[in-house]
Symmetry: C2
Subunit: 428 residues, 2 copies
């Protein structure tokens, strides 16, 4: 059974548990060379509630780099049984170390996560992700076995074999990246099968950031329910936050993590429901605890209670990286906010461009948007109406009214590789 | 601690344990559709000693194929948490299923195996093998964690990153296939490092069949101790038999398996020390026991006791596949026997060819052998001496005196891909 009563604990009790574990974590962390110094000024007796976590200093990716490889460890190296490292061969990498206890905690959280979106012991999971140093492979694998699912370690690639395995073993759950899922659905059709006849019912697609639109596309093209999740190797890997069957945000497992959302500029908490940088503190990590770790990932808390009954707060899908943040007229704007808003409108095509300009003494936001041919009509009034609608929708999302320019299909130059979506032409 | 007193048990007690577990295994196996029928005539009360295992019927690869996927399972599918399958997309594949108990047994045996060749909890193991459906990846990984080694799941490929990981984390144990090890040693040199300065001390190279000569080459080129092992997915995967630090054969874990060596033609046991087909019975497999499984792998029991003190019998490195067996004048001959004999002689070059011919009414064995340039001298007496020496060495290995023909370096045509080493020109 991987539904834990802790998932539906009332907030007061949950926060008490968090406070208790936070104090233990601080004491544990101090056994590492880094935190011994970093937390020198901290007295755990001063922590009266979990909200006091804000009195603790942040930990950054640069800290991880400067402590590479062993400066964050609270135990002798002999006590560790696993490491995952960033894969770069240049620059200073980062590495995360796990004791057997950490692997057990991770597998438990991962199993809970999969249970939460409807996976059961009787399911058969095919892990279509690469293994190795990437935490997604072994993370999902160990969680799936922990939950008791029959686990098929298919690995990445080889579409034909994937299809054969799925059919031969009546696979009901796929772990698959969303971009591959869309390609895979096509391949299944090309192989002469109807996706409706495939045995699958659940796709775990959280390994790669994607939009709500992509999720719906995966669900439609594969005839499957697709669930998003959030994880990062610094917090074990996958299994940090997971969607329940309501599909309205991802529950952060708050008995294992303290999640905060801050203004990346000021370090202060944002108002409830506002987008900011996710900051995470481990509460159950044994060998390498991290306190107030700046994930650089942007999200917001989803307000209100979840219909599933779980009390752990939900975060929204990741809205980009903190490094992408623009500040305009004192307001923080994230390109992903604009993208999500645009892509939710049926009139909008595939491409857009965000431009920051200076007019006189004030900075302005300009958004060029490609419009689908069927909406790019000769009727000026209709076009103006569309222009206003887009500007209004954007304003309600980013709190600034941009200048919107409508463009024809394919008129915005496409860049090779990662699309350039933001151009800053402001005068400094 | 992964040295188990069972490893040094006296033979009588060990065989009693085997008998007891064999009976339990038969009862368990009968819960599967296949064995219910296959073992219908068997009464476990008739098994008076483990030697009576010979009264049981064999299980073959064809049985596995005909029962694909679920016919061998002793439990409901829900009780299984892992499967490994042969990777082909054509033909009938085979699949092996594991319960959590099976995975635990496997990890224990794997950890014991690694301990046996000198790996310790304080070691750092880099797994340079692919993961996925191939049992070598997850098998070694889980065993390494079970032993308590810090495990780096590097996966296959990416030489540069492998070197960086090895140096950054002071890796002491490599899991690497021997052919890649030779290439890798070169790459380490090219990257400007001396293999003597690398932190490694142990290479587990059993994932791929190889000769003793190759092992010595790996040891020399990498400045490492290399250990051979034996495993096959039908018997879990790696960890079935493993070399101890004596490097004189691989101990078969006889508390977990009954090993027999038979004449593949007659099914009878061969004489002690003779080469034949390895037949394995699982004694600790829960969900998918296999009884007298014909591995098609050729080996022999290494006679005598091992200096390490372990009482479990040792098998020699795999001498090819049963399907390669030739019968000449009523004697079984395996090409690998000839290869190993030739390659152990310093005068012999890279290539050779075995030819079966009919002269009059008798069949003959002809072996063409390339001789290294420095031994291919103008002195006829020396050449004749060499010819006789080779024939004599071969005869002592295969019990038949072949005609030996000495050839110059590069005079035997090389074939693309897998070398053709045997030509049968006999008249039927
Ligand atoms: Zn929910
Ligand atoms: Zn030994």
């Amino acid at each position: 059974m991987y539904y834990d009563t802790v998932e539906a604990m009332n907030r007061a009790a949950l926060e008490e548990l968090q406070l208790e574990r936070l104090k233990l974590t601080i004491e544990k962390a101090r056994k590492s060379p880094f935190y011994k110094e970093h937390l020198a000024g901290v007295n755990t007796d001063d922590l009266k509630s979990v909200a006091d976590v804000t009195s603790l200093p942040f930990t950054t990716k640069d800290d991880l780099r400067s402590q590479y490889p062993y400066g964050m460890l609270t135990r002798p190296l002999d006590d560790f049984v696993r490491l995952h490292a960033s894969s770069g061969t240049t620059g200073t990498p980062t590495a995360i170390f796990y004791t057997q206890e950490d692997l057990d905690t991770w597998a438990d959280l991962m199993a809970r996560s999969m249970y939460c979106c409807g996976c059961r012991r009787s399911d058969v999971l095919q892990n279509m992700s690469g293994y190795g140093l990437f935490t997604g492979g072994l993370g999902i694998h160990n969680g799936s076995e922990r939950l008791g699912m029959l686990t098929v370690p298919a690995g990445a690639g080889n579409t034909k074999r994937q299809i054969k395995l799925i059919r031969d073993f009546s696979v009901t759950v796929l772990h698959i990246i969303p971009s591959f899922a869309l390609y895979f659905a096509q391949k299944v059709n090309e192989a002469g099968f109807d996706v409706k006849d495939m045995p699958w019912r659940i796709a775990l697609i959280g390994a790669e950031p994607h939009t709500e639109e992509t999720r719906r596309k995966v669900e439609e093209m594969m005839h499957i329910k697709a669930y998003n999740s959030y994880g990062l190797s610094e917090m074990n890997g996958p299994g940090v936050a997971f969607e329940c069957i309501e599909q309205k945000g991802m529950h952060v497992w708050e008995d294992a993590y303290i999640a905060e959302i801050i203004n990346p500029d000021t370090g202060e908490h944002v108002a409830e429901g506002e987008i900011g940088e996710l900051v995470m503190t481990t509460l159950l990590r044994d060998g390498m605890p991290l306190i107030r770790y700046r994930t650089r990932d942007l999200t917001r808390f989803v307000p209100g209670d979840c219909a599933c009954g779980r009390t752990h707060r939900r975060i929204d899908r990741i809205a980009g990286r903190a490094d992408d943040m623009m500040i305009l007229k004192g307001v923080n704007i994230y390109p992903m906010q604009i993208e999500q808003c645009l892509m939710s409108m049926p009139e909008v095509g595939q491409n857009y461009l965000i431009e920051l300009i200076t007019e006189g003494v004030t900075d302005q936001l300009k958004v060029k948007v490609e419009i689908k041919d069927e909406f790019f009509v000769e009727d000026m009034r209709a076009l103006q109406g569309l222009q206003k609608k887009i500007a209004k929708n954007l304003c309600s999302e980013i709190l600034i009214t941009p200048r919107v320019e409508l463009c024809q299909h394919d008129s915005i130059p496409k860049s090779e590789g990662k699309a350039v979506r933001v151009i800053d032409n402001r005068k400094k």
